[in-house]
Symmetry: C2
Subunit: 351 residues, 2 copies
């Protein structure tokens, strides 16, 4: 999270301005909290230009619970087929949960190329009567990102797991039936998941669903069907406001993220016999820059020397290894510059 | 939350001692966070004397998701019957969710006396082969509390919603198959629910359950099956440590809570023709003191004058009206004294 946001959280911890007490001591039914929740919602609406055809919900359970909620609401108990594009680990997990709920078809799986790219529209065929088309816009672990939305036939809702690139760039929400993201990458602390869902899809949930899993309950109660994660929503609201006020919106944010990631990809490309980038050029993520080193020894050395330079969290995900440098919204340009310089020096010394 | 805990959260917001960064910037896989999670778990284990026969899980979705998870894990797909004691609004909601998952019998419902008491063992009969016996130890809205556990036949797991009296008094965990509580009343911020569950019950969840709803996933991954609500767990750990170090454990906490609630009940009893206590004597809650006033006008006047004395959140739950004074762990004795004095003065002036 941006330092200025952390500072606000600190300043307001004992006493929220205007409220006379800490947010932690407030009931979620207090008007002061309801105002905070609506502020957070409105900032997101304004950043992404979301009109009232969509609900904006704040839920618990992480992106992972959405893997189940989506098919449980949209295909459970029907003979509809949900179609999935799998471009990395998170899409694959989503398929695993969806299969428990109904008919699922994986219409594209980038497994054979070790998840180093995303498909073009010509690479897959969506049924006209599909329940929905699902994809993950940015595969956090592999570092591959869709540069634009997949194509979905009219009448087939497009559903996107945007957990790791939410609020990192502008998008046209009208292309989506639903877009969701856990907050902990770009938007706030762990513990809240933002679900933006077209209202006609909300009605699909059947009354025999576990109540918490039914979007209708949350939408009708304005995310207060049960106690929402109040502090996480409050912090997320601060981050959204920082994007509006300090960064100047998502065009500006996207430009900065482009710049940060390009600094790193440039080093990878300049030392192409030393660093092996994972994603093919067209699909490189502007959030997670993934590459490998010539040997396990050099990989270890890279991580440990980086850490001595205060560059932490560079180890790739357990499941794939290598290096993953994440340049989420909160990382300032200087952070990427420092890392780029370290990478150049390291390649020169060890290449 | 106790002021000293809020102060620690404030002090550590920008930089967690020893970690070199804010908790908010940390991955849930960082050892520093895993240590925090284990600390929180260990404090709870030590406060309640919980041995390794039980897992202690930190989940999202609130107590409400447990209403579904419990029957989904323990009776879905079987012909077992789950039996419920209903002593207020929360038990009733739990029944509603359980019925979606399997066979449910309400073997006691205090509805006819407007939920003003809890049953004695002679008032209900538990089947020897019941899937489990469920109750809510403290009905937050009605202010009725079990003074001791219901009796359950050997082999029938006792399951307790302790959301509003968790960590308020000692208990013998060995009497329970499972005890759970959302944190926001006594134990921390909204956004985390503590589930203490005997390990043999964890194995009951079937693989076709939505993954997030399966206790096995969370238990095997030590509450890191997916990203846990890191800040809420951290804050909860601080509250648990405050109970151990500053309060001196749950015997001391229970004594203080008894004292606080008694101050208020004494005023109710001293002005018995003015204040109408809701719960019958033997079942009065030590967390939520509920009573009514002679008229709607006096009720409104009470709330508004109290609020001018800085006594907030006294309005009863929308569904029952009247007054509910909550004296959760974090409320100091002085708070209860101030309220008691206000109540006495108000009764004298308006009685
Ligand atoms: C793209 C993506 N989807 C889903 C998840 C899972 O989110 P959670 O751990 O909150 O369930 C993550 C990351 O953690 C992610 O990066
Ligand atoms: C006894 C009890 N059970 C369940 C709940 C529901 O908890 P949540 O809102 O976290 O789902 C509450 C209170 O909010 C409660 O007091
Ligand atoms: Mg979440
Ligand atoms: Mg709304
Ligand atoms: Mg919770
Ligand atoms: Mg453990």
């Amino acid at each position: 999270m941006p330092l200025s946001v952390l500072q606000q959280l600190q300043d307001e911890m004992l006493c929220l301005p205007g409220a006379g007490c800490s947010l932690m001591e407030m009931s979620h039914r207090d008007q002061a909290f309801i105002d905070i929740l609506h502020d957070a919602e409105n900032s997101i609406r304004s950043l992404l230009n979301i009109n009232d055809d969509y609900a904006v919900l704040f839920l618990q359970g992480g992106a992972t619970l959405q893997f189940s909620m989506i098919p449980a609401n949209l295909i459970r108990g029907t003979d509809k087929v949900a179609q999935y594009l799998v471009t990395g680990a998170w899409g694959k997990k989503a398929v695993g949960e969806a299969k428990k709920e109904g008919n699922v078809e994986v219409i594209y799986d980038a497994k054979e190329s070790n998840y180093n790219h995303v498909p073009k529209a010509a690479d897959y065929q969506v049924r006209d009567d599909a329940g929905y088309l699902y994809y993950c816009s940015n595969e956090t672990i592999q570092g591959v990102q869709f540069q634009e939305e997949p194509e979905s036939p009219a009448g087939v809702p497009l559903i996107c797991d945007a957990s790791s690139d939410f609020l990192s760039r502008p998008l046209d929400i009208r292309k989506y039936g639903m877009l969701y993201a856990c907050a902990q990458k770009n938007a706030g602390p762990a513990g809240v998941t933002v679900v933006i869902v077209r209202r006609d899809l909300i009605d699909a949930g059947q009354p025999d669903l576990p109540g918490y899993l039914n979007y209708k309950n949350h939408a009708e109660a304005d995310s207060e069907w049960n106690t929402p994660p109040t502090f996480a929503i409050y912090a997320l609201g601060k981050v959204a406001r920082w994007l509006v006020d300090d960064i100047g919106g998502l065009d500006a944010m996207a430009k900065l993220n482009q710049e940060k990631s390009q600094l790193l990809y440039d080093v990878v490309d300049a030392h192409g016999d030393f660093y092996q980038g994972h994603a093919v050029d067209c699909c490189r993520s502007k959030m997670n820059v993934t590459f490998n080193l010539p040997s396990d020894e050099l990989l270890k050395k890279f991580v440990s020397e980086a850490s001595a330079h205060n560059l932490a969290s560079l180890k790739g995900h357990r499941s794939v290894g290598g290096i993953r440098a994440s340049v989420y919204n909160a990382m300032p340009l200087e952070g990427a510059q420092t890392l780029a310089k370290f990478m150049t020096d390291f390649a020169k010394k060890n290449g």
